[in-house]
Amino acid sequence: MSENSPTPPQDSSLGPTQIKSILEAILFAANEPISIKQFTQVLGDVSTHDIREQLIALEDDYQAANRSFQLIEIANGFQVCSRPEYRDWIEKFYTRQVRVRLSPPALETLAIVAYKQPVTRTEVEEIRGVNSDSVVNSLIQKGLIRIAGRKPGQGRSLLFATTDRFLEQFGLKNLSELPSIEEIEEILYEVQNEELELDTTDEN
């Protein structure tokens, strides 16, 4: 850590260590992922390249010191999170089951919006083959999708898109991280094999 306390944002002579500490302080105070843009707004003259570099350095520090938390890239930003191995302890602390799970219809509607966005409700219904009013509404209520505008032309139907909260909840850095068709097949193939193994152990 630096000897001198960091000077106000306007100053252009911030050293790498100071930048790193400021980033850490912001991450510590925030309760949601912070984007590079938000960091730039605070740090003024510091380039996005330098910010990125110091964020990586920060995560390296955590790893080297074997901390129980990590810096992850998620939902178009960065966030400090606990490491997975401490999950049980944190759940014990919250004294409740933290499993978040959407019903299959809600999940499938969310997937359609995620891949097809911006998308109208009619387009969602064409794919699902069933009225989707209440599912769409419940996804909006949960903050996983939002109204993203109106489709030009006749009817001017509402368009829906996913939110940052969606990215956050599903552990995605951004929308380009949505799994491709090939990845989906691969992952489901693995899951099926796991299930088969589980089934045989069940019977024994």
């Binding site: 991450l27 510590f28 925030a30 309760n31 949601e32 992922p33 992850i72 966030q79 999170c81 606990s82 490491r83 997975p84 999950r87 919250y94 409740r96 089951q97 933290v98 499993r99 978040v100 799970r101 959407l102 019903s103 299959p104 219809p105 809600a106 999940l107 499938e108 969310l110 997937a111 359609i112 995620a114 891949y115 794919i127 699902r128 083959g129 069933v130 009225n131 009013d133 209440s134 599912v135 419940s138 949960k142 956050e168 909840q169 599903f170 552990g171 995605l172 949505l178 799994p179 068709i181 990845e183 989906i184 097949e185 992952i187 489901l188 899951v191 299930e195 589980l198 089934d199 069940d202």
Partner: protein, 253 residues
């Protein structure tokens, strides 16, 4: 699995009990469920067979007085049309009906299947990500709010299990069906009963919730009560693997 157990007597449980299905699955789901159950390939569906199965299910859902959405009926019409086409290719004029040809149906199913699979992968992502916790002022509450009706088993899995259960019960206790029970138990009463039952044990195999001496009507009432409790988020239905045993699990708090 051929004949439905409910065919004989349409002893309906008043339509007051009809359960809204809009939080549940649609006709494409049912079709895909039936295709996968019969281990068919979507591109190579045996229309006659699938149509028969589909209609059996529709019939079951109607007898249970589930509020079957019109989309289910349109799909039935489509399947019947395709079936008739395969027998008498020029018999019907498709343009006159708002239904799809085989190619269109297969395409719709494949598209749908892709999104369904994508959603399963996303669910997996969420599961992995749940192991880390970000700094947050009210983490616990936020997560609590996010919880949905957790039906790990789909409506069709539940219906399948119900069908199996009633078949088995019918076989065990034929006499029970002869008695006509004057005091009909209501869905509300059954819900209370089930909740008391779930207080004693946190997890119960689905079929254990059905008494073997119950009348057919009571079985239907039990099933509707289970659906209603799922809808009200008091219980969760979890299935072990595809087409496996279903467990009913009490929700906390």
């Amino acid at each position: 699995m051929q004949a439905l157990p409910m065919d004989s007597q349409p002893q309906s449980t008043d339509s007051i009990y009809s359960i809204k299905l809009d939080i549940f699955e649609g006709p494409l789901d049912l079709l895909l469920h039936l295709i996968q159950k019969d281990e068919m390939d979507v591109r190579d569906i045996r229309i006659a067979e699938i149509t028969e199965r589909y209609l059996e299910w529709l019939n079951l859902m109607e007898q249970l007085d589930l509020d079957v959405a019109s989309e289910f009926l349109v799909m039935a019409a489509t399947l019947l049309y395709l079936k008739s086409q395969s027998i008498l290719p020029s018999a019907t004029d498709q343009d006159a009906l708002p239904i799809k040809n085989r190619e269109e149906l297969v395409k719709q199913l494949l598209d749908y299947k892709q999104f369904k699979e994508a959603s399963q992968v996303l669910d997996r992502y969420a599961e992995e990500h749940e192991q880390v916790f970000g700094r947050s002022v009210d983490s616990g509450d936020e997560l609590g709010d996010l919880r949905e009706f957790e039906i790990k088993a789909t409506l069709f899995d539940l219906l399948s299990a119900f069908q199996r259960t009633t078949e088995r019960l019918q076989f065990d206790g034929d006499d029970a069906y002869e008695e006509i029970n004057e005091e009909q138990i209501t869905v509300e009463e059954k819900m209370e009963f089930l909740e008391r039952r779930m207080k004693e044990s946190e997890q119960v195999p689905f079929e254990d919730l059905f008494s073997r001496y119950a009348t057919k009507v009571e079985q239907i009432v039990t099933f509707l009560a289970i659906l209603e409790l799922i809808r009200l988020r008091r219980i969760i239905a979890i299935q072990s693997g595809q087409f496996g045993q279903i467990y009913i699990v009490r929700r906390e708090g």
